[in-house]
Amino acid sequence: MSIPTPSPAIEDLLRQLAPQVISIMTRRHGQFDAAEDAVQEALLAATRQWPDEGIPENPRGWLITVAERRLADFWRSEQARRRRETTVTILDPEAESMSPDPGDDRPQDRDDTLTLLFLCCHPALTPASQIALTLRAVGGLTTGEIARAFFVPESTMGQRISRAKQRIRATDATFSMPPAAERPERLKTVLHVLYLIFNEGYTTTSGPDLLQTGLTSEAIRLTRLLHQLLPDHGEITGLLALMLLTDARRPARTGPDGSLIPLAEQDRTLWRHDLIEEGVALIEHALTNAALGPYQLQAAIAAIHDEAPAADQTDWPQIVALYRLHDAIAPNPMATLNHAVAVAMVNGPQAGLVMLQGIEQDDRLREHHRLESVRAHLLEMAGETTAARETYLLAARHTTSLPEQRYLLKRANQLR
């Protein structure tokens, strides 16, 4: 089978149009799941035809026409019940007035994309389903691409997506903005989903490199989109800055063999200074103009690391101050672990070890290898070689991450 490979320009255009067309179709017909399927088929048709036939004059109109045809086929094979429902929606004058001529530049696209993001990150869904649905409906990725990025078969991912759509349907969620009172909480879920997508791509150390870069850049693209829709939202800006400031270190974070290189040992000349510059500008703007939140604080901390010319020139007191704020507004044992490391850098390893005692009983950290891993580093700093080695080995036994396990075993063996 030979499918012409679409040029990056076509692919970019399609992924930009995907959420708009899905929104228009969902608004017209009131059924997100069927509309989404129809648009996916239209996108697929475009990737097959456009490379040969050229981009149509009105690409969005083209996609809508093809999706309408697919949807009509689908409904013809459905029962009369559904057909009646559609007729009602089509005849609803208000619904009709909301769908202007294809190709019109609609300011409503902005709200539509936001509405679509809220729908895909519906709280009734598991995080894995929210991620899959967001990547497909808002990101315009194919089921196969999403499946490969998460190392599961395509049929599994397809099933996950269709289950998620069924569940949304079962909740009677409509294609509209959540009520104002729910919006902050819903937006938090959206940001968390985008963060998870970024993290999945960023932390993967093996597999096709391009695929993983794809996931991080997709997360950044979607967060950028959200930032354009709501530029004054501090936490959206904070998350975008955090992603850029983290991604800036990617070229230095793994060795040629895929092994993890800790921050202190990374070759800083490999860091992406363009991303650092953009991230720093974003976070500085947010910190002076918006309400403070955890993503902004994490971005501010990342910025301090990124701006240090060498590891031993890191402004640790400033990082401690930021973690203290973080603990105050969004207490979280993982952040406390990093806080303890920063405290150790300022006041010595014993001070850090004392902080760890405060979170040992936290259920979220029980048997968690990261607590043991931080403890091992601090013990090593304190010169307690035997205890450090034992603790590295303990951490290695509890992790399910292969690269982290290799790293921890290496640290343990260096202390023999």
């Binding site: 078969p153 049929s155 289950r163 990261r370 399910t400």
Partner: protein, 120 residues
Amino acid sequence: MKYMIMIHGNRQLWESFSPEEFAKVVEAHDAFNREIRESGEYVSGAGLAFEDEAKTVRVQDGTTIVTDGPYLEAKEYLGSYTVIDVESLDRAVELAAKLPSATMNGIIVWPLMEETGQEM
């Protein structure tokens, strides 16, 4: 999180089922497979042939030696495995508990290592 669900046993156990029991076991396995496929949690899986068909390969002084059977003196062998991708360990346990072997000699739920890692 990805987990491998492993069913162990031996010929004595697997050959002891009556036709009715065997039909029930097959039915329960089919239902299990249907559920994890429909929920989008199935990654891969297979049944293993009887242990007579397995070989053990060793290299000694550059010579490859192949012997019949799996590792020595095992009383139970891996009978089948299923890899699932689920939200939590609780969910993996919930699924494993649905398999008939759970009421016989138990099922092993073993996390698979991930290729993702954070620099520390």
